[in-house]
Amino acid sequence: MQPSIIEMIYSQRQEIIDRWKEEIQHFSDNEFSRSLPSEMYNETNVEFVHLIIDTLELEQSEAKEKLRQFVERFIHTGWPLSFFTQGMQAFRRVLLETMTSQETINSKKVFETFYEVESWIDGIINQLVDEYSGSWENTLHLQKLALKELSAPLIPVFEKISVMPLIGTIDTERAKLIMENLLEGIIEHRSQVVLIDITGVPVVDTMVAHHIIQASEAVRLVGAECILVGIRPEIAQTIVNLGIDLGKFPTRSTLRKGIETGLELTQRKIVKISSDEFR
């Protein structure tokens, strides 16, 4: 940016800041700002506007880094992006107004000044948007990972016995995960019996049934036994109506019965012991 413009901004620094503060009053009354203590809101405004003006003196890379560090703090505490973009837009208005009200600038210079100020401000807005969207993408990525882990967990409940509780709709993506997690988990936990609990699956259509059948066949191929538990009565009826034969598949009505069967299959059982055996 031309030194003369920078000089001009610096010489009117206080006036610009004051007018900016007035300007942002117009949109400061929103749900977000009301949720904050007003000193905090005002302090952030002041810090932000000073930072912007200070970056004029810095090298571009240094300025970017400073802005990045500043914004990062606010992204994590949930400040809306609009707080900054609206602030920048107001800043641009104020700056251009202040500058053009000066008699010293001739009309040819006005155009140049406009152009320089615009591209400076646009650069900052773009960076703000980039920092925010980068952080959103990151969050989305982490949430997807978390969902992936949650969507088909295999839990080793006893030695040799694991349970996969399925809750919610099963789509193709999830069906793939079920298969992967089952096979990996069986090896990892050395399971001999796995119980797939479908109590929380709202609809068992032919696709879901097909995936469950395939999964349980694969389980058998790696040397374990698969038991389907938690088939609700209405689901049992629709499966029969669909003409799907689950006759070949071990099923138990509840998870508890399934675990009992799992223990039997691994030559164990749960017994009640009398109180004098406690000693």
């Binding site: 789509d171 609809v203 696709m207 209405e234 669909l242």
Partner: protein, 137 residues
């Protein structure tokens, strides 16, 4: 009572929305939980067929009634419409176990058994329209 809902099916989310809409209306009409499960499953089959074989289409869900000397019969009507490849041999696709996608081939014959009335209208190269009704007894 919400008279009719149209759900566009072009992703797996569309299948879930269609099912949701069907379950809500079935509940409003007063179907038992077993019938609600039947209706939702039938919608799931039809919507998934659209997604798999026609790529996109729509599911229309509406309440219907029929007046008899003994009173009014309430039901739910599901229409699955697409402009996909159509079905050449309708008798074949209604056989248990017939599939062109490596599925169970249980969808269409299953829907027919889950519901009370069932009708396929399909022209090869033009599309498919399947209409099915369940009455609340």
């Amino acid at each position: 009572m919400s008279v009719q809902s149209n759900v566009e099916v072009r992703t797996e989310w569309g299948i879930v929305s269609a099912r949701q809409a069907g379950r809500n209306l079935a509940k409003e009409i007063g179907f038992s939980s077993v019938d609600q499960a039947r209706i939702t499953t039938a919608i799931s089959e039809l919507a998934r067929n659209i997604y798999l074989y026609a790529e996109k289409g729509e599911i229309i869900i509406e309440a219907v009634e029929e007046i008899h000397s003994t009173g009014v019969k309430h039901g739910i009507k599901i229409t699955a419409k697409d402009k996909g490849p159509g079905i050449k041999n309708i008798r074949q696709v209604m056989e248990d176990g017939f599939t062109t996608s490596g599925g169970l081939g249980a969808g269409l014959p299953g829907v027919k058994r889950l519901m009370d009335e069932f009708d396929i209208d399909s022209v090869a190269g033009e599309g498919t329209e399947i209409t099915t009704i369940k009455w609340n007894s």
